[in-house]
């Protein structure tokens, strides 16, 4: 993988921030966009912008082909059996909410259980809290081990015959933990539960095969994988999607409309009321082409190396605590003793380094870690070891700066 060549495709990376070359280490929040994606979106608006599924005219046909072509591309990307099982949403949050509203609230009864984990992003936690409250189901948490991983035995013990839904993240956005989804899915199915997987931090960074994992639902966002904001995906097993009612009603999603009742289109369109996210889907298709041209396995290997290097460099700094397991995705969450993560992030920003500081939309996990906030550096295919060196140097500088000013 030639990172130097890859970086040339990301115009945003070639700028100075506060007098220093930008070091962008916040891809877990949102990734940067390469030229092929920017150009694909621009081409749609310049050359064939039109609504889909309705126009007889030429541009309408072109736009429809591009939009439905994007769906087919996503299906291949996830190895889904059929593109009808790919629903375009606004992002991971709306995909997970669709499952929680339309599937969970229909099947859950009082006394049923929903099993989740303490490492969930709020978007895979609050929808289940709400579904539990609305149906009388109970929310149960699989315990975490001290290193931030989940023991398969603990998972197997938490899931019972009363569990109807297991909702778990593939990769933790804070700890970097990679969960054994295939094993979890087998256990959930043995107990008769369906498994819903938050793929926001996995789909951009590693090969995902929904049939091999045997997951029932899988959600991810385009903007974390080089595509525009506002486009996301829900994959679901056909028989589950077919049981589900739409949550948004209006144009595009109907079959026949009578005065007092209506019928819906088949999947996936019954879930896509209104004019869909056409430019977003086209951008996502271009992003998938781009990522596949580099190779998902190569991207994963590159990030694994960056994470290993970052762990080594950050752990060598006195007073820096790193959270999470050895084996991890391409991100490192940390704190510097005596300096609040906001102050750390401000000092890093003064040197052109962008990291995230705060609770990372995972307040229960912050409580589990015993902190109110942390800083996080997250990597993607365009990051380099030199950038991690700059991060380590800047953390050293932050320590010295606060040591001096605080006396």
């Amino acid at each position: 993988m030639n990172v130097k060549e890859i970086r040339k495709l990301f115009p945003i990376l070639h700028q100075e921030v506060n007098g220093h070359p930008l070091v962008y280490l916040d891809s877990a929040a949102t990734s940067q966009k390469p030229l092929p994606v920017i150009e694909a979106v621009e081409r749609y608006y310049r050359e064939y912008n039109s609504n889909v599924h309705r126009g007889v005219h030429t541009l309408g046909t072109k736009a429809t082909e591009a939009y439905e072509g994007a769906r087919e591309k996503v299906a291949r990307f996830l190895n889904a059996p059929d593109s009808a099982q790919i629903i375009f949403t606004r992002g991971t949050t709306s995909a997970l909410n669709l499952v929680a509203w339309s599937y969970a609230r229909r099947v859950l009864r009082e006394g049923d259980e929903i099993v989740i984990t303490p490492m969930e992003h709020h978007s895979n936690l609050i929808p289940w809290q709400q579904a539990a409250k609305a149906t009388g189901a109970t929310l149960k948490y699989v315990p975490l081990r001290p290193d931030g991983t989940i023991a398969v035995e603990d998972f197997a013990q938490t899931v019972t015959e009363r569990t109807k839904i297991v909702a778990v993240t593939h990769v933790s956005n804070v700890l970097g933990t990679i969960n054994p989804i295939k094993t979890f899915a087998a256990i959930a199915h043995e107990k008769g539960a369906v498994i819903v997987v938050d793929g926001a931090q996995s789909a951009p960074h590693m090969k995902v095969d929904v049939q091999d994992l045997d997951v029932d639902f899988y959600a991810f966002s385009g903007h974390k994988m080089c595509a525009p904001t506002g486009i996301g995906v829900l994959y679901g097993k056909r028989h589950l999607l077919e049981q589900m009612e739409p949550v948004e009603f209006g144009g595009e999603m109907i079959d026949t409309v009578e005065l007092y009742d209506s019928t819906w289109k088949e999947i996936p369109w019954k879930f896509e009321g209104g004019t869909p996210i056409i430019a977003g889907a086209i951008g996502l298709a271009a992003a998938i082409d781009f990522l596949e041209s580099v190779g998902l396995d190569a991207i994963r290997a590159h990030e694994e190396q960056l994470a290993r290097y970052a762990l080594e460099r950050l752990r060598a700094i006195d007073g820096v605590t790193v959270y999470g397991p050895e084996e991890r995705a391409g991100l490192v969450t940390f704190n510097v003793e005596g300096i609040h993560p906001h102050d750390v992030a401000t000092v890093l920003d003064s040197r052109g380094i962008a990291v995230r500081a705060g609770h990372h939309c995972a307040q229960p996990l912050m409580r589990w870690l015993g902190v109110t906030a942390t800083a996080r550096a997250s990597f993607y295919l365009y990051n380099t070891e030199e950038e991690i060196d700059k991060l380590a140097d800047a953390l050293q500088y932050a320590k010295e700066y606060f040591h001096n000013v605080l006396g």
Binding site: N18, H340, P341, H342, D343, T346, V347, D349, S350, A357, G358, H359, Q363, M366, T372, A373, Y401, V405, L406
Partner: protein, 145 residues
């Protein structure tokens, strides 16, 4: 952008040695506020007697800017009338937005002016002031007949 503009000595002094830290009696007006985007939190207690802020205490967790601003706020409003304290909150919020504060004397609070050049940190500086405004609005309502 210079870090020294943000981390002024007076700010760091308040951060290291927060004034009016602790709790008042349970019958004092208490406001608990979070900054949901970053996890900072403050628990502010105010005693208002005869239209005056006679005592104020706080505890909380947060970054240097949020704790220093809270500490400086408590010093600035202690002994002031409710109206004066609210006017100060208004002026402070204008200072953060780089607007004219009029002829209100902000004293040491001027040191926080640098925060206005770091837009991501303005929310940190405003948390304690929002708690104070909310508390004084409560205090303005008769608690018991």
């Amino acid at each position: 952008m210079s870090l020294d503009e943000l981390y002024r000595q007076v700010i760091l002094d308040h951060y290291q040695k927060p004034r009016n830290w602790g709790r008042l009696d349970d019958d004092a007006v208490t406001v608990d506020l979070n900054n949901p985007t970053c996890g900072d939190r403050i628990s502010l207690q105010l005693r208002v007697e005869g239209g005056k802020v006679t005592d104020v205490r706080f505890t909380g967790e947060g970054c240097s800017i949020s704790l220093a601003s809270a500490s400086m706020m408590t010093e600035a409003i202690k002994g002031k009338s409710v109206d004066e304290a609210l006017a100060l909150a208004d002026a402070f919020s204008r200072l953060m937005q780089r607007q004219d504060v009029g002829d209100i004397d902000l004293g040491d609070l001027e040191a926080l002016q640098g925060v206005s050049k770091f837009p991501a940190r303005i929310k940190c500086a405003l948390l304690a002031w929002k708690a104070m405004q909310e508390g004084l609005r409560h205090a303005g309502q008769p608690a018991k007949e």
